[in-house]
């Protein structure tokens, strides 16, 4: 999915009322100020959540919250300066926001990127449930298909041989206790590792 390039004057294209469009454009223009504003709030709010079970009593010297408070205050201050700069920029036509996104927006497929992120997160979530061996083999195969490699004669060997090599290096040689999964997946992983001679 390619990103749609919104024309600079989208009023005619959208057919929205001039007032509504102005409001929308105004909100979009405020976007660069959103991140510093969120950071200011976050830095100030987080100072109240340093300790989960109540703050310890410190009678002498700096307490364990001194350094985080110092850093968060600094973060709030510099974020506020950044916010001020962004708002100043907003008031002046023709000036750019301090953040500059990569110049590949024209060819960047956001839909594909989001799907990729979702796949990676799903891989991380499934790892402790279905075990490293099975999850990794399936993940590599699915990722290859998602990335445009669709020949079964490429995808299957890459997935299976790749997983076998990874299992040997990390569970066989380095003795890393990678997840075997839970329940039936645990039994499957044990069988697989015994079959491969790793256990």
């Amino acid at each position: 999915m390619k990103t749609e390039v919104v024309p600079p004057s989208g009023r005619e294209a959208s057919g929205a009322s001039p007032t509504g469009q102005d409001r929308a454009t105004g909100l979009v223009r405020l976007m660069p100020a959103l991140l510093p504003a969120v950071l200011v709030v976050l830095a100030l709010v987080l100072q109240h959540f340093v300790f989960w079970r109540g703050s310890p009593a410190v009678t002498k010297g700096l307490g364990p919250d001194a350094w985080p408070d110092l850093i968060l205050n600094g973060l709030a201050l510099f974020s506020a300066v950044w916010l001020g700069l962004e708002l100043w920029v907003l008031g002046r036509a023709g000036r750019r926001s301090a953040l500059r996104a990569p110049d590949d927006d024209e060819i960047y497929r956001f839909g594909k990127a989001v799907a990729g992120i979702a796949l990676i997160v799903l891989y991380g979530i499934l790892l402790p449930l279905t075990g490293f061996a099975l999850t990794t083999a399936v993940f590599i195969a699915v990722w290859c298909v998602y990335g445009g490699v669709r020949k079964p004669l490429v995808v299957l060997p890459v997935s299976l041989i790749g997983t076998w090599v990874l299992l040997w290096v990390f569970m066989g040689i380095s003795l890393m206790p990678l997840s075997r999964g839970r329940g039936v997946f645990d039994q499957f992983s044990i069988w697989l590792l015994k079959t491969l001679g790793i256990y």
């Binding site: 919250d65 350094w67 060819i107 990874l166």
Partner: protein, 501 residues
């Protein structure tokens, strides 16, 4: 016996077949581990530790020394070729090395990097061999305020890497330091920002953050932009490496080497501040400072030389004082202690042959690194010919394994993935991630040194300025900030003057 005679004896021992083979294997393991995104050479050294049980003490040090030397350079291979630093110290290699790759000059970039690294490492190994004792006596004067000052110098150096957005760079750095405060504090043992999650109490490791921010976002972009990774050797102007390329950057290599040797000897500093400071200094002294970040050779050579120059230098406090100067040398200390060897001044008297064999091995490893680096880089270039989807799949799996391997904990994988999503978002809006990573690495060190300094001096904060070495380093840090900010401030003032007039 003189140092030279002892070193000759060390070379004789290191050139024995078993010892030499151990150095070569260690070097290759280090370069490969360093080059693999997510598997840092420190991880590789930690994983190699059990293998050293079956070795002689000297042999185990040669093996770990080989991994150390190879690994510090290896991280730059992936940084230059795929913009994913294998180690934190290789971060600057992405700033000017990767743009060279994008121009089709991957071979030139790799040759400059490996030559600079080998030169830095070799000089550092010679420093280790001949200047151990005097430098050790200087490092002995360092206490917590000096360590804090050195860490501050490393932190402020990020302002030098901020192209024209110093405020946002500082915000990113502070956000990173804030992430580094998660977990138990160094003085009271009190858990902070745990939000009731037990795993959060043990903190967020920088390796996990680094893998997430760099590797995950990079591979997603790889697929989303349909980028062609195949090396374009013939496309770039002057893509083929020439010997004259090295002569052009000799000043940068020498400056980086000098800085690396000095910074490496400061316990706790290590390769990352060394490389970042060298990059910042090089940017300031270079005639092409405005072009830094676009593939400037000096910007690649200086930090490469500096980071490998820290390897031998970091072993000075380890061998002479028993103080490890970095995570890598801490593992070497662990290996020595496992074999009943106690490093310190007495080691030079009790077992000089072992000490000088290690020195000789470091020299040999740095010479061999040129071949090993180019060899592994060739394999990497071949890897780049594989479809990006296959490459990306393995980078993700290795990144997840790398995050898991830090503490053998699935929670670190979740943290890594969370930072991966964050890193991708940051990349899309142009928010810099490198300062954040530096903040996560150096923040906890700065906090520990800051609090212990104050505790030791009865909460007298002037201790940082009244102690000569600490005060000098902090003054240098201030000068560094002023020097870095001079150009942006004068440019802004001239713009305002132009508008007013």
């Amino acid at each position: 016996m003189s140092s030279l005679e002892l070193l000759a004896g060390g070379f004789h021992a290191a050139f024995q077949f078993t010892a030499f083979a151990t150095i070569v294997i260690g070097l290759l393991v280090g370069v490969v581990a360093g080059a693999l995104p997510g598997i840092s050479f420190v991880n590789a050294m930690a994983m190699a530790l059990p293998f050293t049980y079956v070795m002689e003490p000297t042999q185990s040090m040669l093996f770990l020394g080989g991994i150390y030397v190879g690994g510090v350079f290896g991280g730059s291979i992936s940084a230059i070729i795929i913009n994913v630093p294998g180690t934190p110290a290789s971060l600057p290699a992405t700033w000017d090395g990767y743009p060279m790759t994008r121009r089709g000059e991957v071979k030139r970039a790799l040759m400059i990097a490996v030559t600079a690294s080998a030169t830095g490492g070799l000089v550092s190994a010679l420093v280790l061999a001949f200047l151990s004792a005097p430098f050790a006596s200087f490092a002995l004067k360092f206490s917590q305020p000096e360590f804090f000052a050195a860490t501050v110098l490393g932190l402020v150096s990020v302002i030098a890497i901020a192209k024209d957005q110093p405020i946002i760079t500082v915000v990113s750095l502070l956000a990173g330091i804030a992430v580094g405060t998660v977990g138990v504090d160094p003085l009271y043992g009190q858990a902070r920002f745990s939000f009731g999650i037990p795993q959060m109490e043990s903190g967020i490791r920088f390796v996990v953050v680094m893998i997430g921010l760099f590797a995950i976002g990079e591979v997603v972009d790889l697929i989303a932009t349909n980028r062609d990774l195949r090396p374009k050797h013939s496309e770039g102007k002057g893509a083929r490496p020439r010997l004259s390329d090295i002569f052009k950057v000799k000043g940068a290599i020498l400056r980086g080497t000098g800085l690396g040797c000095m910074i490496g000897m400061i316990p706790g500093a290590g390769a990352t501040p060394g490389a970042v400071i060298a990059y910042g200094v090089e940017k300031q002294v270079s005639k092409r400072k405005a072009e830094f970040g676009t593939g400037v050779e000096e910007g690649l050579a200086a930090p490469e030389a500096a980071k490998n120059a820290t390897t031998g230098a970091a072993m000075v406090p380890l061998l002479t004082l028993g103080i490890p100067g970095s995570a890598a040398t801490a593992i070497m200390l662990a290996a020595m202690m496992l074999h009943g060897v106690n490093p310190g001044p007495l080691l030079f008297i009790m077992d000089p042959s072992m000490v000088y064999t290690i020195f000789a091995a470091m020299i040999i490893a740095n010479v061999l690194m040129i071949g090993a680096g180019i060899g592994v880089a060739q394999i990497f270039s071949t890897l780049m010919r594989t479809p990006p989807a296959i490459l990306a799949a393995f980078i993700i799996v290795l990144s997840v394994i790398g995050a898991f391997g830090v503490r053998n904990n699935i929670f670190d994988v979740y943290v890594c993935l969370a930072f991966g999503v964050l890193g991708w978002g940051m990349k899309r809006i142009g928010f810099p991630s490198a300062p954040m990573v530096l903040g996560v690495i150096l923040g906890p060190l700065a906090e520990r040194y800051f609090l212990t300094s104050l505790a030791n001096s009865h909460q007298d904060w002037t201790v940082f300025f009244t102690r000569p070495i600490s005060g000098t380093i902090l003054f240098l840090a201030l000068l560094f900030v002023a020097w870095s900010m001079w150009a942006p401030i004068t440019s802004m003032l001239s713009r305002l003057r132009y508008r007013a007039g």
